[in-house]
Amino acid sequence: MCARFAAPNTVSLSLEALENLCVLSRLEITSGEMEGVAAKLSEIVTLVDTLQAVDTDGVEPMAHPLDRAQQLREDRVTESDRHVRYQRNARRVEQDLYLVPRVIE
């Protein structure tokens, strides 16, 4: 049971595909790391690819592990304004606003 799963296909992720994933994930991977990351991701995808062989026709995807609805509460304001305390954790704040690089030229 613990042996490596006999995967029907070995998936190999190209560097181009990885570059695209990095952009989608907003995650910088240095060029020196790319090949190593692609190789390990390929192994992980090969592992999860074993799910493709499972017959799940007519099976409902799980929505909640206990098959319960979420707890709802009354829709009213319960929080006070604590932005000063919260903004202490931001590196760049000016006039109560978070600063980011210029987005409009």
Partner: protein
């Protein structure tokens, strides 16, 4: 004093044999002595601990105490603690001072427990060896060249080394039970939703659950009783009333039927580890329990299903780390996308990056049905297998891990090998079930665990079975050599 359990310390506090301040000082001195070597703590909080201990002594004197008043504890550094760094084991949050307390922290504080510090962990709880921490690996107190397990490895090592009598942890795929097994202590992951997740840094929201690491089932019951319960701030926190776990411990386990999954005892399980588990099952039988062989047909799919669902949810949850509102921020970025990419590239470690990329891959256009939806269907099949089994048995017992603690560095370059280490623990969270690990013997001088899994909301039953076992055996009383 540090060999005493929480229950024994509570009695000593109640009868005035020791004060909360004395207890805090004693355990702070032990953290000072052993903590650095084991690297079990990221942050120690002696000043606030002393203040909390003084308040606990005042409550004890006034007769306004609970069984946890004055008990020293530690929190896994995934729980937000007001005014104290909450790093989640990541460079990303190295500078994050939480503005509020997590629900679990709040509840333990209200009961009078004294926080001594925040424990080391795999970054964002992603790992099975505690080698993925920005603050360096935790060492196993039984053998410092081996891993303590993960991701709650700091909590497990701290409890095993008697640096605190109890600690909090979180479990997404085994992160309480696996380190509890490898460090020789008792850990319980409750039913999904039993403890509020409010203020717990999110990893995989449909799996994450808070629980406890302590030395005995009785101590786990004392802590869980306080932590569990409804919370309007977490819409998945269960509204069901919390039973009196302590009162339930007294009942005998004689009439229980225990399911044993034969497939778990194949070549993948270390043969000595298997023997310790079989010996433990024989003890249960001697106590009057009936053993019954069962099958969980789809359990072998739990690792691949988990490594779709958990990374998918992680990739979404971790998108909040953008360098703008809190946490690490890259310097000198020219535009917003560059700020995001460089902040996240610098702030996250290798395993977290792998999980984010895996999650993004399985959720990307055209792949969602094939991976995420398929994994949720497989999860349903696994859950139905458990439900069928629980129509015939009261609990399912087996090994917690395939082997005792492995050497530091052994699996760190092979993520898939590391993932397969969670083979026995991943099923329960996929089905939202409560599960517990307790010590059941030594293999080559290292502890191994017996895992008990029960139906939803059967924490009381699991704790009762473990307590019955611990009254018959003394594995849970063994201390690591030199501690």
């Amino acid at each position: 004093m540090h060999d005493a359990t929480i229950a024994q310390l509570a009695e000593a506090l109640r009868t005035g044999k020791v004060s909360a301040v004395e207890l805090a000082e004693h355990f702070l001195a032990r953290i000072e002595r052993f903590g650095g070597d084991l690297n079990a703590f990221i942050t120690v909080t002696p000043e606030s601990a002393r203040a909390q201990a003084e308040r606990a002594d005042a409550r004890l004197a006034a007769g306004d105490s609970t069984p946890l008043t004055g008990i020293p504890i530690a929190h896994k550094d995934i729980f937000c603690t007001r005014g104290v760094r909450t790093s989640c084991g990541s460079r990303m949050l190295d500078n994050f001072i939480s503005p509020y307390n997590a629900a679990a922290v709040e509840r333990l504080e209200a009961a009078g427990a004294v926080m001594l510090g925040k424990t080391n962990m795999d970054e964002f709880a992603m790992g099975s060896s505690n080698e993925n921490s920005h603050y360096g690996p935790v060492r196993n107190p039984w053998d410092r060249d081996t891993v303590p397990g993960g991701s709650s490895g700091g909590s497990a090592a701290a409890v095993a080394a008697r640096l605190v009598p109890g600690a909090t942890g979180t479990d997404t795929g085994g992160s309480i039970r696996q380190p509890a097994a490898l460090c020789g202590i008792t850990g319980i992951k409750p039913t999904y939703g039993r403890v509020s997740r409010w203020g717990m840094v999110a990893f995989a929201s449909s799996l994450d659950q808070a629980g406890t690491l302590a030395r005995t089932a009785e101590d786990a019951a004392l802590m869980l009783k306080v932590m569990a319960g409804p919370d309007p701030r977490d819409s998945t926190a269960l509204p069901d009333p919390v039973p009196d776990y302590i009162a339930g411990l007294a009942k005998p386990i004689g009439s229980m039927t225990i399911g044993v999954v034969d497939d778990f005892f194949d070549d993948g399980l270390d043969s000595d580890n298997a023997q310790r588990v079989r010996d433990a099952l024989a003890v249960m039988e001697r106590l009057g329990a009936t053993l019954k062989s069962i099958r969980l047909e789809n359990i072998g799919l739990s690792v691949p299903a988990y490594y779709v669902v958990a990374p998918a949810e992680a990739s979404s949850n971790l998108s909040r780390f953008d360098g703008v509102r809190f946490g690490h921020r890259a310097e000198g970025a020219g535009d917003l996308t560059e700020l995001y990419m460089r902040t996240r590239g610098e702030g996250f470690g290798a395993e977290v990056k792998r999980r984010i990329l895996t999650g993004t891959y399985v959720l990307s256009a055209g792949y969602f049905d094939a991976y995420y939806l398929q994994a949720q269907k497989v999860r349903q099949l696994i859950s139905e297998d458990f439900a069928r089994a629980f129509r015939e048995v009261d609990v399912i017992a087996g090994p917690t891990t395939p082997t005792p603690a492995f050497p530091l560095g052994q699996k760190v370059d092979d993520p898939v090998e590391m993932y397969l280490n969670d083979i026995y623990t991943i099923g329960a969270p996929l089905a939202g079930l409560p599960a517990l690990s307790m010590p059941c013997g030594l293999v080559r001088g290292l502890p191994v665990g017996l895992q008990l899994v029960g139906p939803h909301l059967s924490e009381g039953r699991l704790l009762r079975a473990a307590h019955g076992f611990q009254r018959e055996t003394d594995w849970h009383t063994l201390a690591p050599p030199g501690i």
